[in-house]
Assembly symmetry: C2
Homo-oligomer: 445 residues x 2
């Protein structure tokens, strides 16, 4: 029996009202935090971390203890990558201003980024966050199609604005998304083999029918192409393509939310949608785009932007600033120069191999999914995917933290270990992680 779904955002949260920590300095910081930031201020782990320094794949706490970072994708090139730090610092000291003046770096960056995308995607709107990007994308889709319905995956998370929260079922704690939102399951794709694309297309088709019945029509299918919050569903590659065809046939658009799967993360290609052999109408980007400097964007087509701009004005103060462009450009350059895509592919494959070896020894691991350096490890009782073991996933997470390794959890039941290190993760890092994970699993067995 599946356990009751938990709110996805709370799975790895320190409980302010219940948690206690032995370290007095830490307890004091936690108290100050609650007293000034309050309930939105979630802290990771049963014993939160007091981090003071980061470098590459390592984070250091206030006592000098070092942690292997197998979680953070925002510093995609590694913490404090010197080339990004230098580019941003340099630009900050020279000119940090909005995009209403012309500036070369902004144009060099825009052209370089668009060159990585399909030919039909010819315009970039820079924003500041992935939430802003998805918020704008939904408006572009609705204005262009003159329809309202949105299809997302069952446990989707697309950001934090009002509109984007409405299409993020994982954010709801008590109620459900509004009626114009239809969710589709995704987990089954893993077990459908050659029939995966047809099966997923059927789910989407059924959702379109419901949206039509409700009078909304389907404005867009919006998905994270690696379905991270659902529990990381990457395979078989191509399982999205028939669903996208059906959405197009019914006058809807396809929005690829590349906040998670973009920027070489999946190892196979620069963008997650490319693994599925589909061409989006809108591509949204965020998190890793500036290696930690707030940079985000919406890539789309001229006709979509024109449709929106006839109705309303759009301007983003921090979006496309000279410094945002400098940060973004440095990230693209380093991905190329340091072979991050290839590293993501190779080390990702190596890591997966090691995880499969651990699976052979541990029946609690039901499935290993993912691509490149985005891997999910599903914990289930006796390896049965129908009996999710959230307790084991949570225990593993916190024991790994004790053993100086940082990961997260995701999925409908929170029973999937989220393995998503910076892209500079090495084989040595992978060995260390596998070794520590192996020990923790033994301890828990």
């Amino acid at each position: 029996m599946a356990k009751k779904p938990l709110p996805i955002l709370d799975l790895n949260a320190f409980a302010f009202d219940q948690g206690t920590v032995p370290d007095k300095a830490l307890a004091e910081l936690i108290k100050r935090r609650y007293k000034t930031q309050g309930p939105t201020s979630m802290l990771f782990y049963q014993e939160p971390l007091h981090i003071v320094r980061g470098q590459g794949t390592w984070l250091y706490d206030s006592k000098g203890t070092k942690y292997l970072d197998v979680y953070n994708n925002v510093p995609c090139l590694g913490h404090c990558h010197p080339k990004v730090v230098e580019a941003v610092s340099q630009q900050l000291s020279q000119l940090n201003v909005h995009s209403r003046y012309l500036h070369d770096t902004v144009h060099i960056y825009t052209e370089k980024l668009l060159a990585t995308l399909p030919d039909n995607i010819d315009r970039l709107v820079m924003t500041c966050t992935g939430s802003e990007s998805n918020d704008l994308a939904l408006r572009l889709a609705r204005t262009t199609t003159q329809k309202k319905g949105i299809i997302v995956s069952e446990v989707a998370y697309h950001g934090n604005t009002q509109m984007v929260t409405e299409v993020s079922p994982s954010s709801f704690k008590t109620q459900a998304p509004p009626e114009y939102v239809m969710t589709v399951p995704v987990a089954e794709v893993t077990h459908r083999g050659d029939g995966a694309a047809d099966w997923f297309a059927d789910q989407v088709y059924s959702a379109i029918q419901t949206l039509n019945d409700r009078g909304f029509g389907c404005a867009a299918l919006l998905v994270d192409p690696i379905f991270s919050s659902d529990g990381i569903y990457s395979d078989p590659p191509g399982f999205l393509n028939k669903a996208v065809e059906i959405v197009h046939e019914h006058g809807g658009l396809f929005i690829a939310d590349e906040v998670q799967s973009g920027f070489a993360r999946t190892g196979d290609c620069m963008w997650g949608f490319q693994r599925h052999n589909v061409v989006p109408d809108i591509i949204t980007m965020g998190k890793p785009m500036g290696n930690g400097y707030p940079v985000a964007g919406v890539a789309s087509r001229l006709d979509l932007l024109e449709a929106l701009c006839q109705e309303v004005g759009y301007f983003n103060t921090f979006g496309g600033s000279t410094t945002a462009a400098a940060a973004g450009l440095a990230v693209l350059n380093v991905i190329e120069e340091e072979g991050m895509l290839e590293n993501s592919r190779q080390v990702g494959a190596y890591l997966k191999l090691g995880l499969h070896e651990l699976q052979d020894q541990n029946h609690c691991i039901a499935e290993i999914r993912g691509a490149g350096l985005y891997i999910g490890l599903e914990f289930s009782e006796d390896g049965d995917v129908n009996r999710p073991d959230v307790d084991k996933a949570t225990a593993t997470l916190n024991l790994l933290r004790r053993d100086q390794v940082l990961v997260g959890t995701v999925g409908k039941y929170g029973n999937v270990l989220k393995i998503r290190p910076p892209l500079c993760f090495t084989r040595d890092n992978a060995d260390l992680f596998l070794n520590k994970l192996g020990k923790v699993l033994k301890e828990l067995s």
Copy 2:
């Protein structure tokens, strides 16, 4: 007769489809811009600027021409303020990570910022942009009051998300805000003397009645306390207080959008609402908060945050990052150390005096409004506020740009010159500005 209102965001825009510029290099950059960014990418001035460097109150173009910046409030301490550049660069090289780990700077900053606010405001949620802040504020208000209606000023602009655009009448080009939004006029306050607060309260009361009649109720009155996009209405101080009382009496909340009027801008106090002797329930912040580094926030009360968090999760990846906190802290420190509030008050008063002298010689200036370093100069035919002269305002703006002085325009008709320099603006800067403005007005007379 008042001219037809123009979309506020377009008033100072270069027209891609009509504009031509003599400089070939500039024309080439403009072409690249349109081909890769498209219609959302607004450029300032009939002849756009190619800016390459900024320092203090100065911006420099690619030919080395220097411009006096009398417009930009994001670099509130001056372009590339060395202490902020250093603080941000230092933090970027040490640790740039989200807020799910504990970090001292984040807490030092939160406490320092909250200490500038009324006692009832005891919690800070850090976001990334003013738009995200207002989006969250509206949700806090609605969840807490269980009402939907929002009252804003007639030409309000509060940001760019779907929800915040809905409460930004100035963003609409063809349609009007939805029915749950009521707008109130503000311009009259200037002419009502002691009766200003009563008059404005009457407008708000009437809006509440309409919202009640429509079944929405009033969740919040949301205003920028200096009413910048409406045309800058600062006086008489206190004109907001009775309206806020009435909103509270009817179970609504008061949201002060301090994105424009906060951080010492008005010269009288740190926050715009303080000039009106009112205590908000929610305070939103943005633009100047990090002197250009993307930092924003929502300050509110524990009970409001708890109400929202019971329904949905909220997390902001870039909000409250170690670097955002370092940037914000440096800004607060420099405001104190360099006496920015006092400078805003003194130089603002000096500037206003000089503008009044110009008004004596130029009948086209109907009114001078504003506080501190946020001043509006209203152009009207023969000084009659009922005959807005948008052509003269636009001509003045573009001639000032020719003469190396940068300002903007705002207001319902776009006939108000927006004078809003960095807070380090000096008396010498003011003299230069007044001198050049005087010459332009003479040329136009």
